[in-house]
């Protein structure tokens, strides 16, 4: 299997009043294409920071990231945005749906960059059908439940056929039943869409649904055995 995601010796420091704060010290990670993995760890351990770096939303202080064989941080701003648009899908804990847009439009948001046209709309409908929201296409986010909003977010993450989907606490704000439902959906999506899936979560049951599991502690990443 080709390597989908490779991070080597990632370091991330933040300046503070008391000096530099090392959040990630020396993190390396490799995921093959189509693999799924979960990163766990206590609050403030740096797992979201790692996810942001892997998703090119933040830059590492040191180290390299390769996605589908390409180092995105070597791209200029416009190319990086394009790269993210085509290769990476995000699912956030707070969904971040645009309140002014309906469900279908939220899913189509990423296609505005590439002008997806009718094909994109058809795919969005199919994805929304896939996540069980085919009857809510014209609803606004405020009219949806938390679980439904997260389903929209998952559909949005998949609209451009990304190779890598990054999910940051996707069930963090949901009740157990809904969280299970979302976890199942993510697993199904991973399987059906053949994407590489990396999930940051506190939830051990959710983490256990994925092929590999990592733990972030003291700024380092340790793969847990027995996955």
């Amino acid at each position: 299997m080709p390597v989908s995601l490779c991070a080597e010796s990632i370091k991330k420091h933040f300046p503070t009043r008391s000096g530099e704060l090392a959040v990630l010290r020396d993190v390396s990670l490799t995921l093959d294409a189509g693999e799924s993995a979960a990163i766990m760890g206590p609050s403030g351990s740096g797992k979201s920071t790692l996810l942001n770096i892997l998703g090119t939303l933040d830059t590492p202080t040191a180290g390299t990231v390769t996605i589908d064989g390409k180092n995105p941080f070597e791209l200029d701003e416009r190319e990086l945005a394009r790269f993210r648009n085509q290769r990476i899908g995000f699912v956030f804990q707070d969904q971040h749906l645009l309140p002014q847009c309906c469900v279908l439009e939220n899913v189509l948001l990423a296609t505005l960059v590439t002008r997806g046209g009718n094909d994109a709309t058809e795919r969005a409908r199919r994805l929304l059908d896939r996540v069980g929201l085919s009857d809510r296409l014209k609803h606004l986010p405020a009219e949806l439940s938390g679980g439904e909003r997260q389903r929209v977010a998952i559909a949005r993450a998949l609209i451009n056929n990304p190779t890598l989907v990054l999910a940051d606490e996707p069930t963090g704000n949901l009740d157990q039943t809904t969280a299970d439902s979302i976890a199942s959906l993510l697993s199904e999506v991973h399987r059906d869409e053949n994407v590489t899936l990396l999930v940051v979560t506190h939830s051990r049951p959710l983490a256990e649904r994925f092929e590999r599991r990592f733990d972030v502690a003291d700024g380092t990443l340790v793969e847990l055995e027995g996955a």
């Binding site: 942001n52 701003e77 945005a81 956030f92 309140p99 002014q100 439009e105």
Partner: protein
């Protein structure tokens, strides 16, 4: 989904914040475009007013010279033959005064128009029923004049006018005792402006005072039957279409139609003696006429012989020997020396001529030989005189004669000559034609019947003198050389001329009639009537140029509204940014899903652009409202500045387009500026809403950048203030004001540093102090927002405070010669120039002032000026001066000096004898290029004439020539703002026909100004004499500047209000973002009131910081003004302004806080 869909959804979803932004855009657009519309409206109103008063008149000729009315008819005939729609109207137009016969109410600045019904087809705007000119002793008044006189139809009014005279009152033969006349007429009707009542050839803001008199009545009264001094021409064009070609055409036709009679000339043929004589009604022949005659004579093969005939009070034989050859002068007020021991002939004419210029002898001596060529100091007597004096060639002969000096004073001079020969009493020498006709002298039967305008002692006239008169009339008894005669008797030759007659003779015995015809044709051809004051002016074109105004009110109000526009723009940026701040997660998700930063910014700007477009479009409508409001302001609250109740709103498409584009660019710029940093924010920070409060690194970087501005600004401020305080290299005002402005920049930079500084102070203890400290620590929570608003408050405070100090307080103490009044308490103007010296007891007697009035003025010093009426130049005038008022300063005035000078032309030497620095002497400077030195008030030069020291203003003189007036000195805040000042010697060169003085500065004790005013206006009523106090005039001028400053402050204050609104918005936003925190504090037991005080403390800190950052540099900037004029600094006003800003800023915050603090506790906590 398309971009437009996204933008549309966002616009509708966030409509509240977009409406807020839109309101800001509307404000900016309304202010900016409104200001431009004010400019357009001012120009258009000025144009409408000027053209409305002109009626259909395109070109007008108004001359000091009266000419034949038939010439106007001839002109009309020629012009209408070429163009059917052309209308030509002859008229008499003069200045005068009008008094109500019963009430005595008096108006002194009145335009008296003598005309007929042709006039009404030209005057007025076309509305209403045309008036009908009455006949006989009737007058039509315009409404303005009738209102001031409280006159109604049927009332009698007295109209006072100057009596026209072909002979200048400043020559020996001018009649100074008969320069005015009064007409008693009955008011026929009172007419409105739209039918021509407000007719005016010159654009002026005040309503004109017009009296329309039947032409024939006025001609009769002025003793000018069939003559007029004005022609109005309409080319039948629409407004503003008459062009230079039509002017040239009219002028050319007039040149062709003018007759010698129009110019006051006549050709007299003396067939017996074989000459044609050119003679003038003015007795002396103007230089331009003489030159034309010489040219015409040359071209017709004739010879021109100039003659100058003068009156000798006596021809006598001097008593003793030893008189130097040539002239012996003495000043003597007596008409004739009556010393009985001297042999003398009284009252004889003497002719100066050059006998060598003609081939045929002009005179023959008793021995039959031709008269010899005379040299200086030689004289010929006719045989009658020689026998009477018993003199023979070689004997000495004296001539005694009058010369006129200033104010028509006569001095008797005497000159001694050697008798060169005795002229025979033949046909040549006894020619009465040597002396041109002069009514009252040459037409009398007896010498004793003479009625000249100078004193005669008729007792000296002997029988033999009467016999001579009976036989030879005014034939000269003596002859001198032309050069000598001119030197003795024509001191102002260029002004009045130096010949009384020009004889044209033919060397070839040609038929005299033929010669006369040929000469007249050539003579008329060479007479440039423009040089003789007969020229048309393109009054419509001039009105249009003047209507462009002295001040671009558009740009003036743009600058007045500067802070309002900047405040609105900053508010737009602030509100838009606040809206975007709420959506930073959305920005984050867009970025996360692959939108490049520029694309995200583009989306937001597109959204903002729509709001900006809609706001700008609505703003254009509001702009008309804003402009209307400003115009109403100029007509009411700020009337002292504009003096223009006629202003009307004119919405010009160009202004709307400019306003739309400029406002849109400002709004888009503000919006783009507000979102510029979003592209740099990391996506994770956007998603976590961490952009707004925690980007300390960026703040630190920008803090360094601010330090790069602030520190140099502080250094610059120190340098400027230090340099201006210690040396003259940097003017104090410039140094301190520039230093203050630099200090403002430094203060705002310091404010920024304070706002971005990290604070670790523990909020310990309790009570109001702790609450205040907590508030202060909250104030810089969002440094950018806070800086935006406090910086605006600081800037506006700086300007408003600094400008307050420039309000002018009129110093009414007029005793100081070196003050703005020049030490004169009164100034006066007369419609009819005074021919005598008002400053002397003799002059006052000649002016028929009663003893009480004369006594009142005994200690007064009255400085007269010659006056060329024209366009007012003071800051009260909105029209661009085309032909400014000019006054001529006498030698006495120049020597006296006084007033405060702002600057002088450096390269010119100034009379400075070590004690007296007198820039007035610059008026006597002679420029090699012939430019005329002129003094003008400094602000007039800068703002009304838009010129500078050393630069020239081109005017047209009385001869139609372009003359360069060069500014050599400027007066500082002088009472002389409505006129340009030249030396009298230059004045009479430019305007030779203006005799007498019509403008006066009067130094009279302040306690007696009221009495003096009454006495002067009463006693000099026939001259339409008008007196005002210089203090009042200064108050009117200073009111203009003060009102402009107030306007600027008012609009700046509105900008400040917007700044405080912005501050309130920031406060609200801060509170809203901290509603969870505040809810928590309430849960902990803080009352709403306590939290209110906490937030207010935060607001007050920012308001006070902004005020201090603006006020302190402002006070430093105006400190030289404070030191130099401590009494004039309006401290109370400054303090009230600052207090007002503080109260408004804190008050708006308090009002805004109320609803937010009343929000329920639990939802806020739950949301947190």
């Amino acid at each position: 989904m398309r971009f437009a869909t996204y933008v549309g959804r966002s616009l509708t979803f966030y409509w509240r914040s977009h409406v807020a932004v839109g309101l800001g855009v509307i404000t900016a657009t309304a202010t900016l475009t409104g200001a431009l519309l004010v400019g357009d409206s001012t120009r258009a109103s000025l144009r409408d007013l000027a053209l409305g008063r002109l009626g259909r008149v395109d070109h007008a000729l108004v001359s000091h010279r009266f000419f034949e009315e038939t010439t106007a008819s001839s002109l009309a005939y020629s012009l209408t033959a070429a163009e059917d729609e052309t209308i030509v109207c002859p008229a008499i137009i003069v200045r005068g005064g009008v008094a109500h016969a019963d009430s005595g109410a008096r108006v002194n600045k009145v335009t008296v128009v003598g005309t007929d019904d042709r006039f009404w087809s030209l005057a007025g705007s076309g509305g209403g029923t045309r008036p009908v000119m009455p006949t006989g002793r009737a007058v039509i008044l315009n409404q303005s004049l009738a209102e001031q006189l409280a006159a109604k139809p049927g009332d009698d009014v007295l109209i006072r006018l100057a009596k026209p005279s072909a002979v200048s009152t400043e020559t020996l033969l001018g009649r100074r005792d008969d320069t005015t006349q009064t007409l008693r007429l009955t008011v026929d009707s009172i007419i409105a402006a739209d039918v021509g009542g407000d007719f005016s050839l010159k654009p002026r803001q005040p309503r004109p005072n017009n009296a329309f008199i039947p032409l024939a009545t006025l001609q009769r009264a002025m003793d000018q039957p069939g003559r007029v001094n004005a022609i109005f021409v309409s080319m039948g064009s629409e407004a503003g279409e008459a062009d230079g070609d039509s002017l040239a055409q009219v002028q050319e036709v007039l040149q062709q139609r003018v007759t010698l009679k129009d110019i006051g000339l006549r050709l007299r043929t003396d067939a017996a003696r074989g000459y044609v004589a050119v003679e003038a009604d003015s007795f002396l022949i103007e230089p331009a006429v003489e030159r034309a005659a010489e040219k015409a004579a040359g071209e017709t093969g004739a010879i021109a012989l100039s003659l100058l005939t003068y009156l000798a009070n006596s021809i006598s034989v001097p008593d003793g020997e030893g008189s130097p050859q040539g002239r012996v002068s003495s000043s003597d007020e007596r008409p004739v020396n009556t010393d009985s021991t001297t042999q003398r002939i009284p009252y004889s004419t003497v002719t100066a001529l050059d006998t060598t210029t003609v081939q045929r002898p002009v005179l023959k001596l008793v021995d039959g030989s031709a008269a010899p060529s005379l040299r200086s100091g030689e004289i010929l007597l006719n045989r009658w005189a020689a026998e009477d004096l018993k003199v023979k060639p070689g004997d000495r002969v004296s001539l005694s004669y009058y010369l006129t000096s200033s104010f028509g004073k006569l001095e008797t001079k005497e000159s001694s000559f050697v008798l060169r020969g005795i002229v025979d009493m033949d046909e040549l020498s006894t020619d009465r034609g040597f002396t041109p006709d002069y009514p009252g002298v040459t037409d009398t039967q007896n010498l004793g019947d003479w009625d000249p305008p100078f004193p005669l002692d008729l007792k000296l006239v002997r029988d033999k003198d009467e016999e001579y008169w009976d036989k030879y009339r005014a034939a000269p008894k003596a002859f001198v050389s032309l050069a000598e005669g001119r030197e003795l008797w024509t001191s102002e030759s260029e002004r009045f001329g130096q010949s009384t007659s020009i004889r044209i003779t033919s060397p070839t015995q040609a038929e005299l009639a033929e010669l006369a015809g040929a000469f007249e044709a050539k003579f008329l051809e060479h007479l440039d009537i423009k040089r003789l004051g007969l020229f048309f002016e393109p009054v419509r074109e001039n009105a249009l140029v003047s209507s462009t105004g002295t001040t671009d009110f558009g740009m003036l109000f743009v600058s007045f509204s500067f802070f309002l526009i900047v405040s609105a723009a900053m508010l737009v940026a602030l509100l838009f940014r606040l809206g975007v701040d709420r959506r930073c997660r959305e920005v984050g998700i867009l970025r996360a899903t692959g939108f490049a930063p520029a694309a995200v910014t583009g989306l937001l700007i597109a959204e903002g652009a729509f709001v900006a477009c809609v706001g700008t479009a609505i703003g254009l409508v509001a702009a008309a409202g804003y402009a209307w409001l400003m115009l109403e302001g100029l007509k009411s609250w700020w009337a002292a500045a504009a003096n223009a109740p006629f202003l009307q709103l004119h919405v010009e498409p160009v202004a709307l387009v400019i306003g739309f584009v400029a406002s849109l660019l400002i709004a888009l710029g503000s919006i783009a500026w507000s979102v510029r940093s979003l592209g740099k924010a990391p996506v994770w920070a956007l998603l976590g809403q961490l952009v707004i409060g925690k980007s300390r690194i960026a703040l630190r970087e920008s803090g360094r950048a601010m330090a790069l501005v602030g520190i140099p600004a502080l250094v610059l401020a120190c340098v400027l203030i230090g340099a201006s305080a210690t040396s003259d290299a940097v003017p104090q005002t410039v140094g301190f004001f520039g230093g203050g402005a630099a200090l403002l920049v430094a203060a705002v930079s310091a404010l920024w540093r304070w706002l971005r500084a990290d604070r670790h102070e523990l909020i310990a203890r309790s009570g109001p102090g702790a609450l205040l400290r907590l508030g202060i620590s909250n104030a810089p929570r969002h440094p950018r927002r806070s800086l935006l608003t406090t910086g605006l408050i600081a800037s506006a405070t700086f300007v408003i405070t600094a400008i307050e100090a420039f309000h002018i307080e009129v110093d009414t103490d007029t005793r100081d010669k070196n003050s703005v009044t020049g030490g004169f308490a009164l100034y006066a103007e007369s419609a009819v120039p005074l021919p005598y010296d008002l400053d002397s007891a003799e002059g006052r007697r000649q002016l028929s002032m009663d003893e009480a009035a004369a006594d009142l003025l005994r200690d007064a010093k009255i400085i007269p000026f010659r006056l060329r009426p024209g366009d007012e130049t003071s800051c009260r005038g909105l029209y661009r001066p085309n032909a400014p008022r000019i006054i001529g300063a006498t030698d006495d005035m120049i020597e006296r000096g006084g007033f405060v000078f702002a600057a002088t032309l450096e390269e010119l030497p100034i009379s400075d004898d070590g004690e007296v620095f007198n820039p007035w002497t610059l008026l006597e400077h002679t420029f090699p290029d012939g430019a005329v030195p002129v003094i003008v008030e400094a602000s007039v030069l800068q703002w009304q004439l838009h010129s500078a020291l050393g630069k020239d203003l081109v005017i047209t003189d009385e001869h139609g020539r372009e003359v360069r007036l060069r500014f050599v000195a400027t007066l500082d805040r002088s009472v002389l703002q409505d006129e340009l000042i030249v030396a009298e010697s230059q004045f009479v060169r430019l305007f030779p026909s203006i005799s007498g003085h019509a403008f006066f500065l009067i130094d009279v004790p302040q306690a007696r100004t009221g009495e003096a005013t009454q006495a002067l206006e009463r006693e000099l009523g026939t001259y339409a004499f008008d007196v005002s106090t210089t203090a009042q005039r200064l108050r009117e001028y200073s009111a203009v500047q003060n009102t402009y400053l107030s306007t600027f402050q008012t609009l700046g204050g509105l900008g400040l209000v917007l700044g405080t609104v912005g501050l309130a918005v920031v406060l609200l936003r801060n509170v809203w973002e901290r509603r969870g925190e505040l809810a928590l504090m309430r849960a902990l037991g803080f009352s709403r009131a306590t939290l209110g005080w906490l937030s207010l403390a935060e607001n007050a800190v920012l308001v006070v910081a902004g005020l201090a950052a603006g006020a302190i540099p402002a006070l430093i900037a105006i400190s030289p003004h404070i030191v130099s004029r401590p009494a004039q600094v309006p401290w109370l006003s400054i303090v009230l302004t600052l207090l007002g800003v503080a109260v408004a800023g804190i008050g708006v915050g308090a009002i805004a806080l109320g609803p937010t603090l009343r929000t329920p506790l639990l939802p806020a906590l739950r949301r947190e």
